[in-house]
């Protein structure tokens, strides 16, 4: 089934309520002026694919009560800055993921303000920084109401002379009792000249909440490379297959098989060595 392409009405995109899941496509290449607004109506059930464009873009998002579904960002080509500011209503259930295989320098700011109660958000990042790329990610969940849940998982690979940074913030405000915020960040570092950094931040202003964070930045296991090479794979191919294995679970989260294949084929570690 082809996706329903979202068309702007004076820079505002609307997703209506629906009883069944509906697939949408938002092509940021067609955005003429930033910021844009995305309004998701109450009880919408969506599978939204967003593809990056060639310019910086800011997306202001209003997620109404009882919205559920998936939001997927597929990022190819030249890297540009992306900002996503979402306000979230009550009883929302969203699984979101970003797969970033862009080239160049760019910053991604993701923010979910959880205004309503009883909402659940999952966020996953798979980012590859190679060659001379400079990538910075800030993912922020702010819990402002009762019994909200957020979990972010940021995974990245950095190689060559690239740099990759993740900052994840979970903030539980006063009044957001029984909320839970969790985050994990892992960066695999292939080469001596590349840079990886993960900064988890937790701000807790309420009692009776759950919060956790984990961050790991480490080199690829040299024994793994050796094992793969001992079967004839070049170092480049060994790196590629390890990277694919590392990021594949997040790529697999994408519902569109064409996008999955496109993302997998973007793993070009070592091609320019």
């Amino acid at each position: 089934m082809p996706r329903n392409k979202l068309v702007a009405n004076q820079q505002v995109y609307h997703i209506p309520s629906s009883r069944e899941r509906v697939s949408y496509f938002l092509d940021l290449n067609e955005v003429k002026k930033s910021p844009i607004h995305l309004v998701i109506a109450p009880e919408a059930d969506l599978d939204l694919l967003i593809q990056n464009g060639t310019e910086d873009v800011v997306i202001e998002v209003d997620i109404a009560d009882q919205v559920r579904g998936k939001i997927q960002f597929a990022m190819f080509g030249k890297n540009k800055n992306l900002t996503w500011n979402a306000s979230v209503g009550s009883n929302v259930q969203i699984d979101a993921a970003i797969a970033d295989f862009t080239e160049g320098k760019g910053k991604v700011f993701i923010r979910f303000d959880m205004l309503g109660r009883d909402s659940q958000l999952e966020w996953r990042t798979a980012a590859l920084a190679s060659h001379q790329d400079r990538k910075f990610y800030s993912v922020n969940f702010t819990h402002k109401n009762f019994n909200t849940y957020a979990n972010m998982t940021n995974y990245g690979v950095t190689e060559g002379n690239s740099s990759l940074q993740f900052t994840g913030t979970g903030h539980i405000l006063n009044g957001a009792k029984f909320s839970k915020t969790h985050q994990a960040a892992k960066i695999m570092v292939f080469d001596e000249k590349c840079f990886g950094r993960a900064d988890p931040v937790l701000k807790i202003d309420e009692n009776e909440v759950e919060a956790s964070h984990a961050a790991t930045v480490g080199r690829v296991n040299e024994e793994h490379l050796y094992y793969l090479q001992s079967r004839g794979l070049s170092k480049k191919e060994a790196k590629r297959i390890i990277t694919l294995g590392y990021l594949q679970p997040i790529i697999a989260y994408f519902t569109d098989e064409t996008i999955q294949a496109q993302l997998s084929s973007q793993i070009d570690i070592g091609k320019k060595e």
């Binding site: 998982t153 001992s230 079967r231």
Partner: protein, 282 residues
């Protein structure tokens, strides 16, 4: 025709000399049993031949059909015809076994293998090694039992068809049936191809099954004795002490306090993927 020549090979690990002038020749279609007490350089020799980066060759030569192996990267050695069935095969989480095998096979072909042909080869080899086909869809060696890992090494040997196969304690951790399966696979290769074998084992049983043509004993980082299968019988019956009595060789005790070597003090595997994958399943 394949000939592997090792000439006066000196190898250091963590600045300690392990091999101290090894001379050894493996001729075409030979099966050489490599024996010796623990810690005397057998595994070091095989790893150095394969090109493990922790081993520093300080002197000597390794030639495969006259070509200098030491000038080759690890993958080039593999493509040149060398294979090492490892004592402790790495778990590589995230990397699907069949994807890895396909990539390994394709390194030896001009045209990539078709899915149909790959499936047939995997199916045949899996049946021969009595490995469930499902293992090929799992992450490489992850969660495999000790026996499955060793059989997976031999499965790779069957698929890659090297000219010189080195097997490092491939029989350790195998039960009686699995040992027979591994031995059968080796015998089949011996019969049907010109592959040469250099095989380390501490047990006579495997050697009884595969009938080595020659036996080499390494002591103190050198080849101390060469002979026929009768050497295995003697070692199996009397240990290595008879070498001292018969040849006057003083056998150094293994340094049990030596710390195991790791290339990475801190490293990250692809294990992170599991958490996401498991989470996604929920």
């Amino acid at each position: 025709m394949s000939k592997l020549e090792i000439k006066n090979l000196w190898v250091k690990v963590a600045n300690i000399n392990i091999l101290k002038g090894v001379n050894l020749m493996i001729n075409d279609h030979e099966t050489v049993a490599l024996l010796g007490p623990n810690g005397h350089g057998k595994s070091t020799l095989l790893s150095a031949i394969m090109g493990h980066p922790k081993y520093e060759i300080t002197e000597g030569e390794i030639l495969l059909d006259g070509k200098n192996v030491l000038d080759m990267e690890v993958d080039e050695r593999s493509k040149a015809g060398l294979f090492l069935g490892m004592q402790h095969p790495s778990e590589v989480p995230g990397v699907i076994n069949s994807d890895f095998l396909k990539a390994a096979i394709n390194t030896r072909r001009e045209k990539p293998i078709s899915l149909v042909e790959l499936y047939k080869k995997l199916d045949d080899a899996s049946k021969q090694m009595k490995i469930p086909m499902e293992l090929s869809h799992r992450h490489l060696n992850e969660g495999f039992s000790g026996g499955e890992r060793k059989r997976n090494e031999i499965l790779q040997l069957l698929l890659l068809q090297p000219s010189v196969a080195m097997l490092d304690e491939i029989d350790s951790g195998l039960d009686v049936d699995a040992l027979q399966t591994v031995a059968n696979a080796i015998k089949k290769i011996q019969k049907e191809t010109k592959t040469s074998f250099l095989i380390i084992s501490h047990y006579a049983r495997l050697f009884q099954m595969i009938q080595p043509t020659r036996v080499v004993v390494m002591i103190n980082g050198r080849v101390a004795v060469e002979g026929g299968p009768e050497v295995i019988t003697k070692i199996d019956g009397s240990g290595y002490e008879w070498l001292t009595k018969e040849y006057g060789i003083s056998i150094k005790k293994e340094d049990k306090d030596a710390k195991p070597f790791s290339m990475n003090t801190i490293s990250i595997g692809a294990c992170a993927t599991n958490e996401v994958a498991n989470h996604a399943k929920k």
